[in-house]
Amino acid sequence: MRIIIATAIAGLLLLLAAPGRAQLSMPTSIDDYSKLYVTAYYDHGGTTDWNCGTKTYSGHGGTDFGGGSWSGMYEGRDITAAAAGIVHAVNDGVDDTCSTGNCGGGGGYGNYVQINQYDGYRTTYAHLRTWSVAVVVGQIVECGDLLGLMGSSGNSTGPHLHFDIRVPGQTRFDPFAGPCSPTPESFWAVQGPHLGLPAIQCGDPAVCEPVALITCGDEVASSNDGAGSTTGNFFYGCPGGWMYSGPEIAYRFVTDLDEPVTVTLTGLSEDLDLFALESAACAGDDCIEESTNSGTNDEELTFEAAAGVEVVLVVDGWQGAVSGFNLAVQCEGGIPEEDEPDAGPDGDTDADTDGDTDTDSDSDADADADGGQGGTKGSGCGCRAAGPRPSGLLAALIGFGY
């Protein structure tokens, strides 16, 4: 009896020791991100996907990502590791031109890579292109490492990636969380909207890395893939929720007055968009204002600057766009804050000259002028205005002229 009880307890402990939530990155490279899309989610029964939509088919146990059908396949679509781990199994050499859904090879999965992730989950990347598998069994892979190319090998109706996740020895589950999914919390680092894509995000969220400090009257001519650009940020916390896969370049802005500031982005050859963020943390939830006009149209946004409070301006490419640009900042003037002996609302009286901003997230109620619109590209952000204003003393110490 003791043995039975001990076994039962051990089993319970094993269950309790099941791995926690994974942090998956969209399994592709930045170059291919905007060229991918969901063709089928995990089926939760009755051809219902995680968001109670019908983007699935009966019995589908993974997520299918398309990449532009055959032309996309021959152009090449990188498939990368969604998380770090060790390669558990591979198969290659299966023809990749299947369109009937019934070609066989690899047990129907064609050319595939399977990874035992360090977080305890096992992920499968299937239907890869013939001889594209770039890893071997036992190889250590980091999140984002190339595994192969999208193909149509095995039982496939056209080029796509079949991606699935499970605890080894158990059935697959849906990494997406939503009203029709039993997954309580998304396994993607950033899930993204329904029919959108999860973000490419390995590890901690990327941060903006402003390349320069600018102020009123400044004009900058640069490119969003120029020196100091990054490719880590996809979301800026604006209600529209669009994903920006192009490289981004960021600038710190500060003025010594409380005043409306208008920022323009001109001279575009591709679709770049413009964001004003509350802090250099750039954590994806600190949007002040955005301008997301389509195509090569100029961008313009206006926000209420607070004296001495830093704002980060980000220029990012829509769907991988890269372009030169002219960024201009016009301040409309205002009444300088009076120097007061006491500190501002947060009590911060330090002269912060290294570029770090005060990230107190309290918002000024009088600054949200636009009202959020969201929904379609081109709408205003209508987010919170900049955070608490430091004292005039801080502004004086920072000492930017106007």
Binding site: G68, G105, Y112, A134, T157, G158, G169, T171
Partner: protein, 214 residues
Amino acid sequence: MNTIAKLCMAAALFASVSAAGGCAEATSTLPSVAAAAEAGGGDATAGPTGEWTLTGGASLALADRALRLRGPAGEIALAAGVVGVPSVSEGGARFVFARELPNDLATEVVAVEFLGGGWTAPRVLAREGTPDLPAISPDGGRVAFVASAAGIASVWTVAFDGGAPVQLTNVGLRADGKGRPAGFVPIPLRDPPRFAGDRLVWTARDGAHEVTLP
């Protein structure tokens, strides 16, 4: 105990059918693919469908990746998660098929035969390397299939009665993550290998291939 376990349900269903009596020629129908090509691509959806004649007036029916064994007295659900189509020996007394295991990226090739007045339970012939595309020889004595060996899709064979599978192509090759290795022989493009005397023959994208059986 007999190594071939009797499928009791089938025995009850087909007890009146003798192995020799009334067996029609096995005529596999070409499967039709239920899933139309989806823009942008997807996995197989409902999978192929088809019906195959077995000995004693029995038949196999495949739909929605489920295989059902039908006889005069009724039918049973034989397997779910079937990959591809079954392969039936001449006379219809033996057949093989591949099925997916639910708890991992894994498949197995299994064998069923009519023995002692009933149908045996599915018996695993191969499980390593996600095997599929099985084919049974006309006399039912040998099975060919495709499976991954050292990361490379290859052709294998195994005796219907069991034993260790034998790799027939790409022996000694290993996937090195650097593309097609020298000496690689591709697996069949669509249909399983076909038995032709002492050889296995199949068609790949680059043409016809064959290998002599051991």
